[in-house]
């Protein structure tokens, strides 16, 4: 072994020298990488600072006020005043529901057969007219739940009286004139509102979402107030 001693020694010197060289340049590369990263971090911090200032700029009160005015047709925001404060305790309970749910919808609400659709329409309108005296109160935008208790017995399953509901006068006018029946679910109510706002084309959704009340033989729940408060 010792006769290879000097050779091994020389080889080991070469190996160590090579390793030293590598480590040296690896260290330099690492330090360069560090300063590159630091420069990147500084750039990112500067970008953060710019973004913070830009966020504050976009939220400038004058700019927001201008946007509110520009998009008034979609936002319809008004200045907040103390009238907006209310108490939950001041919201009235829904009117008393009948003690026993009826066995079925009252006969005047049933759509009997297709040829009698006109008659059914008349029955619907008749039902609507009966409650006409109460609509005067509704026209002014007051609470609508009182209407549900007049005349037509209400199927408890379909009525979800939650808090204050107000229907705009336009909704009622449509119902009296024999317009498409009122929506019966929240989804239908939202779709109807979107159609009226012009966001969604009515033809595309009418088939799928509008209530299928024209099918003969199916009971028609009474007109539900649109759960949508609009100015």
């Amino acid at each position: 072994m010792t006769r290879h001693g000097p050779a091994l020694l020389a080889l080991s010197v070469l190996a160590i020298a090579g390793w030293t060289y590598n480590v040296n340049y690896d260290t330099r590369a690492a330090l360069d990488r560090i300063s590159e990263l630091r420069a990147n971090i500084a750039d990112e911090r500067e970008t953060l600072q710019v973004l913070r200032v830009e966020w504050a700029w976009l939220n400038a009160p004058d700019r927001l006020a201008r946007l509110v005015v520009e998009h008034n047709d979609r936002l319809a925001l008004t200045a907040l005043t103390p009238d907006a404060f209310g108490y939950v305790a001041a919201v009235p309970y829904p009117p008393d529901l009948p003690a026993e749910p009826p066995s079925g919808p009252p006969p005047e609400l049933l759509v009997a057969t297709a040829p009698d659709a006109a008659q059914a329409e008349g029955a619907l309108l008749a039902g609507v007219d009966e409650a006409a005296p109460d609509r005067a109160a509704v026209e002014t935008g007051e609470l609508l739940l009182a209407e549900a208790s007049t005349g037509n017995a209400v199927d408890p399953g379909t009525v979800e009286a939650t808090g204050t509901v107000v229907a705009s006068a336009a909704d009622k006018a449509g119902a009296i004139a024999g317009a498409p029946p009122e929506p019966t679910t929240m989804r239908e109510a939202v779709t109807l509102a979107l159609i009226e706002a012009g966001v969604v084309q009515p033809d595309a959704v009418r088939a799928t979402v509008m209530p299928a009340s024209v099918t003969p033989g199916t009971p028609v729940p009474p007109a539900r107030p649109a759960v949508w408060a609009r100015q």
Binding site: P6, A17, E46, Q49, R52, D62, A79, P82
Partner: protein, 566 residues
Amino acid sequence: MTDIAPQAGARGRAAMRGDWRIILLMAGFCVCYAAVAVRMGLMATIEPEEPQISRDGGPTLPIRGEIVDRDGKLLAGNLPAWSLYAHPQDIRDPGLAADELARIFPDMTRDELLRDLTSDSRFVWIKRPVTPREKQAVHELGLPGLHFGNREMRIYPAGAAMAHIVGGVRAGREGVRFAELVGAGGVEGYFDERLRDPELAGEPLRLSLDLAVQQVVREALTRGVDAMNAIGGAAILMKVGTGEVLAMVSVPDFDPNAPPQPFYGDAGQNPRFNRAAQARYELGSTFKVLTTAIALETGAVEPGTLIETPPTLRYGRHTIHDFHRMPPIMTVEEIVVESSNVGSAKLALMVGTPRFKAYLGKLGMLDPSGIELVGASDNDTLIPERWTDLSTITISFGHGLAASPMHLAAAFATVANGGVRVYPSLVAGGRESGPRVFSEQTSREMLRIMRQVVINGTASRADVPGYRVGGKTGTADKVRPNGGYYDKKVISTFAAVFPTTRPEFVLVVSLDEPTNMSAPVPARTAGWTAAPVTAEIIRRAVAVMGIRPLPAPVPGDIASLGASWE
């Protein structure tokens, strides 16, 4: 090395013995390398005390501290920007360069650019600061001789809403790669040292103002100033307990991001003039509240004491008279509610000049308000050089002493705060309340009287249902610069405290030359001008602050016996 092996036998030993120098040299190299290897191993494994790698520069500190409102919304921030300079000797075609630059920077004329670019010096500033978009445009020109340097610019995202508060900055010393920003005006000027301190640069300066409330007050005040055809107005909304100013608005105002425009006109109409803190007006009948509080405190009178109030009061050569006919005998309360000058003159004379002046000093009416704004922090009130009894008489109903609306707000806050002195402040947290000026009883009685002013008296148009607004109107003729008063120009002020049953806020609104044309007769008095504007401001501010209206007190409630608060 291969030839060493065959000689390993006989010759090798001899060679080894003979070449001991080579062995020694190799051993020496091995030792050195071993030492280096050991050292490297130690360095790699043992945690160094001050490693170079973890010597991170830390977050890049802003050159100037930020200013935020009480909720943390940014009011003043820094943006990296550029400054444009030129080496005129490198510019090939000054005319073309001047044309292009004039197109990019519309506020510089071609001639002055040409002059800059053809000057003899080797270095000339063209424009600073320059936004990144402008920099890109100049860069794309590709003209030699134009260079950019880094700098930071100050930007005020809140815009004109906070214009008078933040003030502005101007450039101090500047070089190519930096520019010193020195505060000039407003909070930037007052806290300049603190904002430039590198240790505090990372921590924003938190003000007591609320940007939402400020905007709402500004909108309502602007609408009121327009409706009343006034030339300007000021509003201060302050918390009673701590003196924190929630909103301070002065209209007309300016855009703090735009470079300062020269203003040629009366200094009082300059948009940069802060009417809320810098102006010194004779505040008129609002002083009657202070006079009455002082009179009640000295024990000379009670709220129900009857005072003779003849139509005129002669003092030497001067005559004091009331705005309109008053009953010949009035209670102290009625003097305030109906706003009788004769009555308050008598009250002040009962107190006596030395005590009256001392109390006004305790209320802060003889000193600067101390609000943290450049231009307002050392704003003395204007007091008569020789304070005679006649001065006391005129000051008792607000003429003869000129103070800013900020002084009035602080004095009313003191009255409402149970009599403990309130110092106004723009910094979050406010300042500690000071020594006691009035007793609790005096404070309570004055609050009740102020509520009566709004229910029964001159300020009925200031009432907002559910907020128990109390206060005092003041209509003062404007002073002519040459002496004397204008005939038809007034400063109309209303100082409100609400809710009077448990005071939280003071609101002072001051309008400059208002006229209410929608009144039956065009009216300038505060009851027709400042009071309705105050009501509108209160209505909008409480909604934004989320303060619910108070319910009406139960009839027959012990606490409301003998008084009606609603």
